[in-house]
């Protein structure tokens, strides 16, 4: 059990900074997810913590101990790799026992622990098999088992679900979340998939090009993205953005002139946005906040618009509608009963209570 601290950590390969000046404090027992597109430095951050990459600048602490110069095996961590990295020449039992054996744990203890962990993961019948005789899901469990059998202070998981098919992935998500609840250890999890991040993380650190964009709980990240990148990255389908939007005032009402729409800003945000009046901003609205006029949910602050229907994808519980207006595509998640036909015009109701405005230069949310 231990907390983890990144203190101004930088990683450079020559001139290229894979991670720059990363500072995060992860309290003991937290499930933290690093998320971001490929090449954003999330894996590098994790590998520096594991001791697989050298830290160029700054320091990493596990508990109170600076581990910059500590070998991976002495950091009291365990890691689950993307490819699982199971040893193909060892049985499942030997794979799980390997780390304990190298630490000269008594045989009896090893046997007890391996069997206990195997039972808890439901893989006790696989102990005599070799990795190549296992299915993808079983391999994944063995890889997790190999990590937890050592009872480390920190768990590192590097995209452990990316080699599973969609259905197994959903199961494995729940399985890992439950595991965290049961063990109560610090988990640090790397993924490029924002769904995994949102469903599993207690806190999520969003990275881009080696820089920390925002770190917060999933709901805060979703409702109050700190910048355009986070707003666009979190949520699926992604948020709609209107660039080059003028914030004006007409008859005492604040208006977002998102061509071709003029949308009224809710009154409680007037105070907040007043300094930006007359300036160009970026307006963002999530697809679930664009409704069909016939089925507006209760309690929204509506603003009306119209658009052509381009594509309709019926998902069963909703319709994803691609609206087109003046060359701009707007995604909308509408009620499945909505009467939208491709090629026809339809009304659209924007829920301005959940609108977002960003500064086009700094890309930061206006607050």
């Amino acid at each position: 059990m231990a907390s983890v601290t990144y203190r101004n950590v930088t990683k450079r390969w020559g001139d290229f900074a894979a991670v720059s000046n990363l500072s995060i404090e992860i309290p003991d027992g937290e499930f933290l997810v690093f998320v971001g597109p490929s090449g954003c430095g999330k894996s590098t951050s994790l590998r520096m913590l594991a001791g697989l990459e050298e830290i160029t600048e700054g320091e990493i602490l596990i508990g109170d101990r600076v581990v910059n110069n500590v070998a991976p095996k002495d950091r009291d961590i365990a890691m689950v790799f993307q490819s699982y990295a199971l040893y193909p020449h060892m049985t499942v039992y030997d794979n799980m026992a390997f780390g304990l054996r190298l630490r000269r744990t008594p045989k009896q203890v090893i046997d007890e622990r391996v069997r206990e962990v195997a039972a808890s993961l439901g893989i006790e019948m696989l102990l005599d098999r070799r990795p190549r005789q296992l299915s993808g899901g079983q391999r994944q469990r063995v890889a997790v088992g190999r990590a937890i059998v050592r009872e480390p202070a920190v768990f590192l998981l590097d995209e452990p679900l990316s080699n599973l098919d969609a259905k197994l992935r959903v199961e494995a998500r729940a399985f890992i979340s439950k595991l965290h609840q049961r063990l109560g250890t610090t988990f640090i999890y790397v993924t490029h998939d924002q769904t995994e991040a949102m469903t599993m993380g207690q806190r999520i650190a969003v990275l881009r090009a080696g820089e920390l964009m925002q770190i917060d709980t999933p709901s805060n990240l979703y409702e109050h993205p700190a910048n355009i990148f986070v707003a666009g990255f979190i949520g699926s389908p992604a948020m709609n953005f209107f660039d080059n939007v003028l914030l004006t005032e007409e008859d005492g009402r604040m208006i977002v002139a998102a061509d071709p729409y003029s949308l009224e800003v809710p009154e409680e945000r007037y105070e907040l946005y007043r300094p930006y009046l007359g300036k160009r901003v970026v307006f963002g609205i999530r697809p679930e906040d664009v409704h069909h006029p016939d089925y507006p949910p209760a309690g929204i602050i509506p603003a009306m618009g119209e658009a052509n229907v381009d594509v309709v994808e019926l998902m069963g519980n909703e319709k994803i509608v691609y609206l087109e207006s003046e060359g701009k595509t707007i995604l909308s998640r509408m009620d499945p009963r909505s009467d939208v036909r491709v090629g026809h015009r339809t009304g659209a109701v924007f829920n301005m209570a959940n609108m977002h405005l960003f500064d086009p230069d700094t890309e930061l949310a206006l607050q």
Binding site: G51, A78, F98, R103
Partner: protein, 346 residues
């Protein structure tokens, strides 16, 4: 697990044999050579038999995979007949020398001397040529075995270590060192022959088999390093990182992960080095004298005399070719893999 234990044991016994061989040199050569030879042979048997079993149990991947239902280039009956006719003709051409060698070696000296009748079968089978050849070439055959086994094992083990370091560890200058090492594989050995000859004389091993072993170990390093490096490059680095997190260090990773995974690589390298060293000639003819020369040299000298009974060199040729041929026939797949590893550009 047992396979690895066997191999370690084989290595140990083999090296013990080599050690005895070296330690007894000069005092009582026959005695030392005998013990060393026996120990080496036992060691190699212990080493090779499990490897052979392993190869047959595990190595089910053929080198040439042919999809079953692929249409042939031409399905016409006549064309296919011509195809087979061509192949059978070529096969006969390739086997022609084998036929003469075997037939001639079984003839009496008198009959073998009748040049016009080389293609005729022997009127009576005469095994005497083999007895004589074994008498004359026996010591050299033993030399060849001692030489080949010790040099193969040493160069394979060193090559494996080099390959591990070069494939998986980063250190300054690796990108320069590797091509420089590789070049050693291509040089014409004539260009280092005199210094090598002098060197072997200087360390007082001239005219012995030990100088030859040293030469083969050193000049075998580039190819063994290359094969192992390419082999290890295919091992996912994540697996070694998992080992590092599990608590293994530099040697631990090699001992517990890389080495067990590289058994097929060892088979390829051992077979390759075995045939290469067994067949090598230039070093052998330069660095040894009559008592320590390997069989290739003895054979060439035996056949090189002007007035010879050809049945004898032919029997000698069979003796000299047999070990590598057996290896080739039993482990042909790995032989081919070695060929390709030594040749195809990725």
């Amino acid at each position: 697990m047992s396979v690895f234990t066997w191999i370690i044991l084989g290595l140990l016994v083999g090296s013990l044999g080599t050690y005895l061989l070296f330690s007894d040199r000069g005092r009582n050569p026959d005695h030392g050579a005998l013990i060393g030879g026996i120990a080496g042979a036992v060691g190699s048997l212990v080493l090779l038999i499990p490897l052979w079993i392993y190869v047959y149990v595990q190595g089910k991947q053929p080198v040439y995979e042919l999809p079953k239902d692929r249409p042939p280039l031409s399905g016409k009956h006549l064309t296919r007949m011509a195809l087979y006719a061509f192949l059978i003709l070529m096969m006969l051409v390739y086997l022609l020398p084998v036929y003469t060698v075997v037939v001639t070696s079984l003839k009496t000296p008198k009959e073998a001397g009748k040049l016009a009748k080389v293609w005729d079968l022997p009127t009576e089978i005469n095994w005497k040529s083999y007895e004589t050849a074994l008498d004359e070439l026996g010591p050299q055959l033993k030399n060849s075995f001692i030489l080949t086994i010790s040099a193969t094992i040493i160069s394979a083990v060193m090559g494996s270590m080099n390959g591990y370091v070069l494939a998986k560890w980063k250190f300054p200058g690796a990108n320069i060192i590797f091509p420089l090492m590789l070049f050693g594989m291509f040089i014409p050995y004539q260009s280092i022959l005199i210094p090598l000859f002098q060197f072997v004389q200087d360390i007082d091993l001239g005219g012995t088999i030990y100088g030859l072993i040293i030469a083969h170990v050193v000049y075998g390093l580039p190819i063994t390093t290359l094969i192992f490096r390419n082999y290890y490059a295919e091992v996912p680095t994540e697996m070694l990182e998992a080992g590092a997190i599990d608590g293994a260090g530099f040697f631990g990773i090699y001992r517990w992960i890389v080495f067990p995974l590289s058994l097929p690589g060892f088979v390829v390298v051992i077979i390759w080095q075995f045939t290469q060293i067994w067949n090598e000639f230039l070093f052998a003819v330069t660095l040894t004298d009559q008592s320590s020369q390997p069989i290739t040299v003895a054979l060439a000298l035996l056949a090189g005399g002007e007035a010879v009974n050809w049945n004898l060199p032919m029997a000698g040729a069979v003796l000299a070719a047999l070990p590598t041929l057996v290896v080739y026939i039993v482990l042909g797949r790995y032989f081919i893999r070695g060929l390709l590893a030594g040749s195809v550009k990725g």
